[in-house]
Subunit: 307 residues, 2 copies
């Protein structure tokens, strides 16, 4: 295979109680990317549509992640990348992770899979490091593994795949304001109370158990974040109203997607996910906030080949 076209999923990191450790991949929201082998060594980004992003390899997350892979590879050639960027940067649904993960996943396919998924996550994390100063894995891990993933530990990197109940849908609304991940990290406190910690790991344990048990009620009861959400939600227009209305419309839970400003809700079944989308849409239309909205099944595959 000399060329591959891939779908690079958007992802929701944190998922309320899983700050910095949990993430999930979306199915109907993502970039497309074409990667082809070249005889010349190194990565060249030849075309970006959809967004105005740098073509320079060392300034583009796909270039940085791809370079990390190339450096560990025996392959003597290089790659050309074309990106059709459909996820808006700064939206909080893993825009940079989609490009980083998509690039390294596609290259690995073209090289006949010399690297494990875990290694691909490590390469993609280099793209994340360039994008937000922190080599976090909570978006790139679900983008590569699919479904829900837990970053159990960073040193050593330990990624755990968590099964996804089949009726789980995500609704994501993106108010058209930009918050940089690095800025939204700065406002967080560096300490928390023991009591907050206990609540959080109780909920995270409950969420993981709920996903394994297909227990939608337990998933809903566990989707709380008493630590980060109260702080970050201040930056997001009408967060409380969006969340309250989502829950009233039947969502299992709702919270900030990644570092925001997107707000996600998880629901049982597409019908409820659409109700939730309607309620979110109403809220922003009433107060005149521009937005994009997405409804998606959870994507169990992660990055995938398309035609």
């Amino acid at each position: 295979m000399e060329e591959i076209k891939v779908f690079c999923p958007a992802t929701i990191a944190n998922v309320s109680c899983g700050f910095d450790v949990l993430g999930l991949a979306l199915d109907s929201v993502g970039d497309q990317m074409t990667v082809r082998k070249t005889s010349e060594n190194g990565i060249r980004i030849t075309k970006i549509t959809g967004q105005d992003l740098p073509l320079a390899t060392e300034k583009n997350v796909a270039g940085v992640a791809g370079t990390a892979l190339l450096e560990k590879s025996d392959y003597q050639g290089g790659f050309e990348i074309e990106i059709d960027k459909r996820i808006k940067p700064g939206s909080g649904i893993g825009s940079s992770a989609a490009s980083s993960a998509g690039a390294v996943w596609a290259m690995n396919e073209l090289l006949n899979r010399p690297f494990s998924d875990l290694e691909l996550v490590e390469f993609a994390m280099q793209g994340e490091k360039m994008a937000s100063d922190v080599a976090h894995a909570d978006n790139v891990a679900p983008a590569i593994f699919g479904g829900f993933t837990l970053v159990r530990s960073y040193e050593p990197l330990d990624i755990v795949s968590i099964p996804t109940p089949s009726e789980l849908y995500a609704t994501v609304i993106h108010p058209q304001i930009e918050i940089k991940t690095s800025d939204s990290r700065k406002i967080l406190k560096t300490t928390i109370s023991m009591q907050q910690g206990i609540q959080q790991w109780g909920n995270l344990g409950g969420l993981i158990a709920g996903l394994f048990k297909n227990d939608y009620d337990l998933i809903g009861r566990s989707l709380h974040d008493h630590i980060v959400e109260p702080i970050r939600s201040i930056l997001i227009p009408a967060f409380d109203e969006i969340k309250t209305n989502a829950l009233k419309s039947g969502a299992l839970g709702s919270g900030i997607s990644g570092s925001g400003p997107s707000i996600f809700a998880l629901s049982r079944g597409e019908k409820i996910a659409r109700h939730v989308a309607d309620s979110m849409t109403d809220t922003y239309q009433k107060i005149g906030v521009d937005f994009d909205i997405h409804i998606s099944k959870i994507n169990n595959q992660g990055v995938k080949k398309i035609n």
Copy 2:
């Protein structure tokens, strides 16, 4: 049924990464208790063997927990309780929880189960409150539900049963010093760093996932506690040596049982659990610390009827 004899299991709370939320029940360590109906209202503790504990209903955890049940019951009679106390108070393996849980479970059986397991936990927590000032559930929940349990939340009380891999064994060594739960809580800090929190909920998520997946390696990789263990272990003789030797002997993980001073290790299979017991025994014999040692399968039933 007018009379029932029950086994009341010892329990390991916290289990390293699950401070205040996780617990497990043991199979071969526990009290025995005989409970019989009486026409007279109220609880009477008629006999305690094995330990010197108060017979007065309001000063005995079984009496307090049983009274909490009676107050919610339509039953007009009362109960007599005989306790054969085999778990030493203050050992850190749920001595008070075994009495509280055993009493209310036995009474519920004699009344033809008017109460759910969750309600029994709530009654038993009243016994815990008397014993340690805090109505914690991380010992009484596994004592009643069996296996591993997660206390997802206290308000409202939400207990989640977690499946137990069949080859999992616990080794527990109890150095003969007493630490009161209330004292060992006092030395804890009331704040933790965000980074410690993230590590902890990553590990707790990993442990829950490992238990569901029967992934013993993942269980082992997750059994870390960077928050409470470094502080509480100072109170326990040769903690680091016991733990290090347990891991060298093949244990998946090792930590403080509840608030100590008992130290537990989890192993895959009885053979390794016995090696671990040998290494723990050697360590305390060398330095002249008196101890009890237990090797047990995980008990998936919790309190149970015996003859």
